[in-house]
C-alpha cells in the first residue's frame, strides 16, 4: 500500500495541468501527451485498472472486397424492401388504371371524364410539346423562383427562429407581428405583392418566400425550445461562449426540427408559387398549366400537373437527402427516423 502511494506521488508531477492557471490552450497541451503515459503506468501498478472493465467487442472494421460489396448489396434486397416496392407499384399502378379506364370508357358518374385526356395522349404531349424549349424554359423559371424564395426564407427564417427561440426579448419583439402575419395565406398576398414590388418576377418570388418562411421560422423556434436544457448547461461549463453555443449546440440541436420546417416550407412554397403563376404570371409551370386550360389544350393541363408533382417530389427528396447527410446521428436516435 505504502509503496503504491509513493509510486503515485512520483508519477504525479508529470501531470502539470495545475501549474498553469487558465485551462486554455497552454494548459491542455501537457496532459495531452501525458495522459497516455500516466494511464499506462497506472494500469501497470494499480490493481483496480481500466483493463478490468468489461468492454463490449468493437465492431469489426469492414475490409473492402468485391464479394463483400456484392453480398452487402444483395443483403439490402430484403423481404421488407421487396414488399415495400411491390406495394408502391400497386398504388401507382392503380392510379393509372383508374385514369386509363375512366378515360377509355368515358365514365360519367357525377365526375366527368368526358374531356379528360387519356394517359397515351399525355404521353404524346410530353414527346411533342414536352421536350420543346417553351416547356423546359417554364420549368427552369419555376425552379429558379422556388429556389430564390426558398433560400431567402431559409436564410432569414432560421437565424431569426434561433434568436426568437433563445431570447425572450427578441421573442417579445417579433412574435406579435409573426402571429398577425402567419394566418394570411401566401395567395392572399398576390394583389399586395403586385403593388409592392417593381416587377412581376420579384412579386412572385416574394409570394414563394412568404409561403416558405413561416413553416421554417416556427419549426426553428420549436426546435430551440425542445432542446434539452442540460445540453446547454453542459456546453456552458465546457467553456462555450454565447456565439459558440449558438453555432455548436443550439443550431445542431434544433436541426431535426429545422429540417421538418424546410420540408413543410418547400411544400407550401410550391403551392404558393403555382397559385401566383396562375394568377399573375408569365412563364412558369403554373402559367403553363393555366394557359393550357385557356387554350383548351387538355393533354397539356395534365402534363403540367404531373410536372408540378415531379418537381415537388424532387425538391422534398433533395431536402430529405441533405437532411440525412447532415444528421447521420438520427439513424440511431431512439424512435428512429421514420
Amino acid at each position: 500500500m505504502g509503496s503504491l502511494a509513493s509510486a503515485k506521488i512520483v508519477a504525479l508531477p508529470m501531470v502539470e495541468k495545475h501549474s498553469v492557471p487558465e485551462p486554455a490552450v497552454a494548459a491542455v497541451k501537457p496532459p495531452a501527451a501525458e495522459i497516455s503515459a500516466t494511464g499506462a503506468t497506472a494500469n501497470a501498478s494499480a490493481p483496480v485498472a481500466v483493463a478490468e472493465i468489461p468492454v463490449p467487442e468493437p465492431e469489426p472494421v469492414p475490409t473492402v472486397s468485391l464479394t463483400k460489396v456484392l453480398r452487402s448489396l444483395l443483403a439490402k434486397i430484403t423481404r421488407e424492401r421487396i414488399i415495400t416496392a411491390a406495394l408502391a407499384c400497386i398504388s401507382i399502378g392503380a392510379l393509372f388504371l383508374f385514369w386509363y379506364l375512366g378515360t377509355k370508357y368515358r365514365l360519367e358518374f357525377y365526375i366527368r371524364f368526358k374531356n379528360v385526356p387519356t394517359p397515351y395522349e399525355v404521353y404524346q404531349q410530353l414527346t411533342q410539346v414536352g421536350l420543346s424549349n417553351k416547356y423546359l424554359v417554364n420549368i427552369a423559371i419555376s425552379v429558379r423562383r422556388i429556389l430564390l424564395g426558398f433560400f431567402i426564407a431559409l436564410s432569414i427564417g432560421v437565424p431569426l427562429g434561433l434568436a426568437i427561440g433563445k431570447y425572450q426579448r427578441v421573442r417579445d419583439l417579433f412574435m406579435p407581428v409573426v402571429e398577425i402575419m402567419r394566418p394570411i395565406p401566401a395567395i392572399a398576398w398576390v394583389p399586395m405583392s403586385i403593388m409592392l414590388w417593381p416587377n412581376n418576377e420579384a412579386s412572385i418570388v416574394f409570394i414563394t418566400f412568404i409561403g416558405a418562411f413561416f413553416p421554417i421560422l416556427l419549426n426553428t423556434i420549436h426546435g430551440v425550445h425542445s432542446l434539452d436544457g442540460v445540453l446547454i448547461r453542459a456546453a456552458r461549463c465546457l467553456g462555450a461562449s454565447e456565439f459558440r453555443l449558438f453555432l455548436n449546440v443550439i443550431l445542431p440541436g434544433s436541426l431535426p426540427h429545422i429540417f421538418t420546417g424546410l420540408a413543410v416550407g418547400m411544400g407550401v412554397a410550391w403551392v404558393s408559387l403555382i397559385a401566383a403563376e396562375m394568377i399573375s404570371g408569365q412563364f412558369g409551370v403554373g402559367y403553363f398549366t393555366w394557359e393550357a386550360y385557356s387554350l383548351v389544350d387538355y393533354p397539356a393541363i395534365v402534363l403540367g400537373m404531373i410536372t408540378i408533382g415531379f418537381l415537388g417530389l424532387a425538391c422534398s427528396g433533395i431536402i430529405r437527402m441533405v437532411g440525412s447527410l447532415l444528421m447521420p446521428w438520427l439513424a440511431f436516435a431512439p424512435g428512429g427516423k421514420r
Binding site: 495545475h18 494499480a46 461549463c237 459558440r244 455548436n248 445542431p252
Partner: protein, 292 residues
C-alpha cells in the same frame, strides 16, 4: 489524502462555500432550499454530499458550477468568487448530457474546441481520455449507440478534457443498475487518482459515498443544512472487497442512522399537513403509532 497532493504543486481546486442560503420564488411560493450551509473541498480531495431528496444538493452543486446565484453567502474556487460557469469546473450531470449530434470523440473534444485548441491536439487528447475510459474503440459511434454506463464514462472524461481543477458530479450513476454502478465507482476512483482533482460528488447511495469519499457531508431535510461531517478513514486504493469489512459496515450504519432521521423529517410535514384523516384512516386512541 490531501497530504499526498500537497507534495506536488497541485494546491488548486479548493472549493469553499460559506454561509450559503438559497431561496426560490417570492412571497407565497417562497421555498428556502438551502440554509446556512458551509462546506469545503480541499485540493485533490473527494467529498460527497448526501441527504434526503429535495434537500438542495443539486442546488448547491449548481451554485458551485455557476448556474445559480445564491441568495446569501458565496461560493469560492481558489479564493475567487464563482459567478458563472467555466471550464475550470467540470460538471457531470445525472441525466445523460452528451451531444447526440457529435460522435463520441467529438463530444470529448468539445471543451477543447471551445478553448480554441487545434484539431490534431484535440484529437490526441480525446483519444487518450477515451482510452482511459476504456472506450477508444467507440470513438466514432454516436451517443445513441451506447449504453447508459458508457455514456456516463464519456461524460466524465469529457468534463476532464479541459483539465479542470474540480469535478462536480450530481448523482452521475443514479440511472445505472447496481452492477454497472460498482464498476463505474472503481473507474471513477481510478481516474480521480490519476488526475488528482478535487471532486464534489452528490449521491443518494450510502455505500457509494463511503466507497468513493475522503469525507462525507450529510444534509438535513429541506431547508438543507449540514447535519454532520464524516471522515472516511479507509485506505486507498479502495477495492470492491472493502465493502465487507467491519469498518465499512460501521460507517454504513452510522450514515444510515443519520439519514433515516432526515428522511422521516422530510416526509413528516407533508403527512402533518394532509392530516391523518386524509389517508382515510381514523386516529386511534393510541395515536399515530397504531397506524404505522
Amino acid at each position: 489524502m490531501t497530504m499526498a497532493v500537497a507534495g506536488t504543486e497541485t494546491n488548486k481546486g479548493f472549493i469553499d462555500v460559506r454561509d450559503m442560503g438559497v431561496t426560490f420564488g417570492a412571497n407565497d411560493d417562497k421555498v428556502v432550499a438551502v440554509e446556512n450551509v458551509s462546506l469545503n473541498v480541499q485540493p485533490g480531495e473527494f467529498v460527497s454530499l448526501i441527504g434526503p431528496s429535495g434537500c438542495g444538493k443539486s442546488t448547491l452543486l449548481s451554485i458551485v458550477a455557476g448556474f445559480v446565484k445564491p441568495t446569501l453567502g458565496e461560493a469560492r474556487l481558489d479564493g475567487k468568487a464563482i459567478t458563472k460557469p467555466g471550464s475550470d469546473r467540470g460538471v457531470v450531470f445525472q441525466q445523460y448530457s452528451l451531444f447526440p449530434w457529435l460522435s463520441v470523440r467529438k463530444n470529448v473534444e468539445f471543451g477543447l474546441k471551445m478553448a480554441g485548441v487545434d484539431q490534431s491536439k484535440r484529437n490526441t487528447t480525446a483519444r487518450a481520455l477515451l482510452d482511459l475510459a476504456g472506450l477508444l474503440s467507440f470513438e466514432n459511434h454516436y451517443p445513441d449507440q451506447l449504453s447508459g454506463g458508457m455514456k456516463q464514462r464519456i461524460g466524465i472524461v469529457r468534463a476532464l478534457a479541459t483539465s479542470p481543477q474540480v469535478l462536480l458530479m450530481d448523482e452521475p450513476f443514479g440511472a445505472l443498475d447496481t452492477q454497472t454502478r460498482v464498476v463505474m465507482q472503481e473507474i471513477l476512483t481510478n481516474i480521480w487518482q490519476q488526475f488528482k482533482i478535487s471532486v464534489l460528488f452528490i449521491t443518494h447511495d450510502i455505500e457509494e459515498s463511503i466507497f468513493l469519499s475522503d469525507r462525507i457531508y450529510v444534509m438535513t431535510a429541506r431547508p438543507g443544512r449540514i447535519k454532520a461531517e464524516i471522515k472516511v478513514p479507509l485506505p486507498r486504493p479502495r477495492r470492491a472487497e472493502m465493502t465487507d469489512t467491519p469498518e465499512f459496515m460501521n460507517l454504513v450504519q452510522e450514515l444510515k442512522g443519520l439519514i433515516r432521521e432526515e428522511s422521516l423529517a422530510a416526509m413528516a410535514p407533508e403527512i402533518k399537513d394532509r392530516g391523518l384523516s386524509g389517508f382515510g384512516m381514523k386516529v386511534g386512541p393510541k395515536g399515530v403509532g397504531e397506524i404505522f
